[in-house]
């Protein structure tokens, strides 16, 4: 038996360490489709409880939208369940090409290549496009999948302080001798809802002859007046060399991702991207539903408009109630608590009030920046938002944090 006592004991010790540090992640069972109101069994074995969901990436409420579900059913009937192949052998159907074309038109890029996930798109891009004579210059808070993707590339790695354009420019000056440079950023940063200053980034890209790459997973479908993403929001449509994004958040939320950008980059990825060449094609049912999603959001901006209104309302009311909200316009609304235990306690109390929102703390966010990350959806109705605001207000009063700022909360609870 290869799974010897030594290995068993090592894994158990690791798990004990994780538990001891308070970092053990428990899964909660959701017993309903993904939407604003869900039924949850937590802890496992407890009676199911109906709660309002404020922690999904279901920004547009399309995850269980009847037209999307219907399109998935139709796709299943017309194109089958699986393809049992990678794309280049016998895994490309007409609808895969159709979805790639629709994404290209929607994002206003030159071409698009699908991946099983955005994580895999990020795992592919840098290894294909950059080599040892090149430099990757990334914002320090980019998503973990970008960090992993950059590790797979031979290019030299540089990073700059979060959103700090002076520091980015210093790094661009430092790397002048490299063959190619790529500035790498999230469009929207998932923990803070911060929006990357893409106009300035593109300006620096032009000035120093560097390509610009954006992971737009937390904005495709709703940021910008037509919902195209951060590049539309910042007025730089057509200027981003490579956008990676996901179909697993606002765009139906099932699975799949893509690289969309310069045709040469996309073509080369089709030839050389290992996660594309060696993982299965995106299932037809997901492709069919995603085509419907792009049609829906191209035809009407009602969803992103409602999301914008919901976000504005929630941010205003929470601020008025005295909660410490990280400022911004994005539906990711970090309610700052600074202390890890306080964040966990508030999350637990919210759940008891029927509000499902998760506490995040170090090492997921920097030390002393624990928070509840609230995510607003177009699926939320005003009454849902009011219920969440009332719950936060009640619990905020319980812990005496209403109207308190960072220093005061830290003085009460520590970092």
């Amino acid at each position: 038996m290869s799974y010897a006592e030594k290995a068993r004991s090592h894994y158990n010790n690791e798990l004990t360490t994780i538990r001891g540090a308070g970092l053990f992640k428990e899964e909660r069972f959701i017993k309903s489709p993904q939407m604003a109101r869900i039924r949850v069994e937590y802890p496992v074995g407890a009676p199911s409880q109906e709660v309002l969901n404020f922690c999904a990436n279901n920004y547009l409420g399309l995850s269980s939208h009847p037209e999307v579900v219907e399109a998935a059913h139709k796709g299943l009937d017309s194109h089958g369940y699986g393809l049992s192949s990678v794309r280049f052998i016998c895994g490309t159907q007409d609808i895969h090409a159709e979805l790639e074309k629709k994404l290209t038109e929607f994002l206003e890029t030159e071409d698009t290549i699908l991946f099983p996930s955005c994580m895999e798109a990020n795992a592919a891009l840098f290894e294909v496009c950059l080599d040892k004579d090149d430099a990757m210059i990334a914002d320090r808070l980019v998503h973990a999948s970008i960090v992993d993707g950059m590790r797979l590339s031979k290019a030299q790695l540089y990073n700059y302080k979060h959103l700090n354009m002076e520091h980015l420019e210093e790094k661009l000056q430092e790397t002048q001798s490299c063959r190619f440079r790529m500035i790498i950023t999230d469009g929207v940063f998932s923990m803070d809802g911060d929006i990357a200053p893409l106009e300035k980034i593109c300006e620096l890209g032009d000035k120093y002859d560097a390509m610009v790459m954006v992971d737009d997973s937390h904005s495709t479908g709703f940021l910008g007046k037509q919902g195209k993403g951060t590049h539309e929001h910042c007025g730089v449509l057509g200027r981003i060399d490579a956008i990676t994004t996901t179909l697993g958040k606002a765009l139906g939320g099932a699975a799949g991702g893509c690289i969309s950008g310069r045709k040469g980059i996309v073509d080369l990825c089709r030839q050389r991207a290992r996660p594309y060449l060696f993982s299965n094609t995106v299932p037809p049912v997901v492709v069919a539903a995603s085509i419907k999603v792009i049609d829906l959001i191209s035809k009407s901006t009602a969803g992103r408009n409602k999301l914008e209104e919901n976000t504005k309302y929630f941010r205003e009311k929470m601020t008025q109630a005295g909660l410490d909200i990280r400022p911004g316009v994005h539906p990711i609304v970090p309610v700052m608590l600074y202390n890890a235990k306080l964040a966990q306690d508030v999350s637990r109390d919210l759940y008891e009030e029927g509000i499902y929102a998760i506490g995040f703390f170090f090492p997921v966010v920097p030390q002393g920046q624990a928070r509840i990350r609230v995510q607003i959806s177009a699926d939320h109705e005003r009454e849902h938002l009011d219920k969440a605001i009332a719950a936060f207000t009640k619990i905020g009063a319980k812990y005496s944090i209403l109207g308190k700022k960072k220093d005061e909360i830290i003085a009460m609870y520590g970092m």
């Binding site: 320090r140 540089y158 302080k161 170090f362 920097p366």
Partner: protein, 84 residues
């Protein structure tokens, strides 16, 4: 000599990792990685700085979060790799 090197590394850490308005103190004992001032992703800048400054190559197996966790531990690493 060692004090000059310590000061140089502290100055670099402050400039490279802290915001201009930060009131965070950095001394030779300050925990850099385990306190979150420098995360494992950002550590690469510090490694490159040291390599360039001392004209050395820090092998990946030596560039651990423990070795980079304070200015003192960095000095110990440098002593292994170069005659300071």
């Amino acid at each position: 000599m060692a004090d000059d090197i310590k000061k140089m590394i502290i100055d670099y850490v402050k400039k490279e990792y802290l915001d201009e308005d930060s009131d965070q103190q950095v001394t030779e004992d300050t925990k850099l990685i385990s306190s979150g001032i420098v995360d494992s992703f950002s550590m690469v800048s510090l490694k490159m700085f040291l390599e360039k400054k001392f004209q050395i190559k820090i092998p990946d197996e030596k560039a651990t979060p423990e070795a980079f966790d304070s200015v003192n531990s960095i000095i110990n690493l440098l002593k292994e790799l170069t005659p300071l």
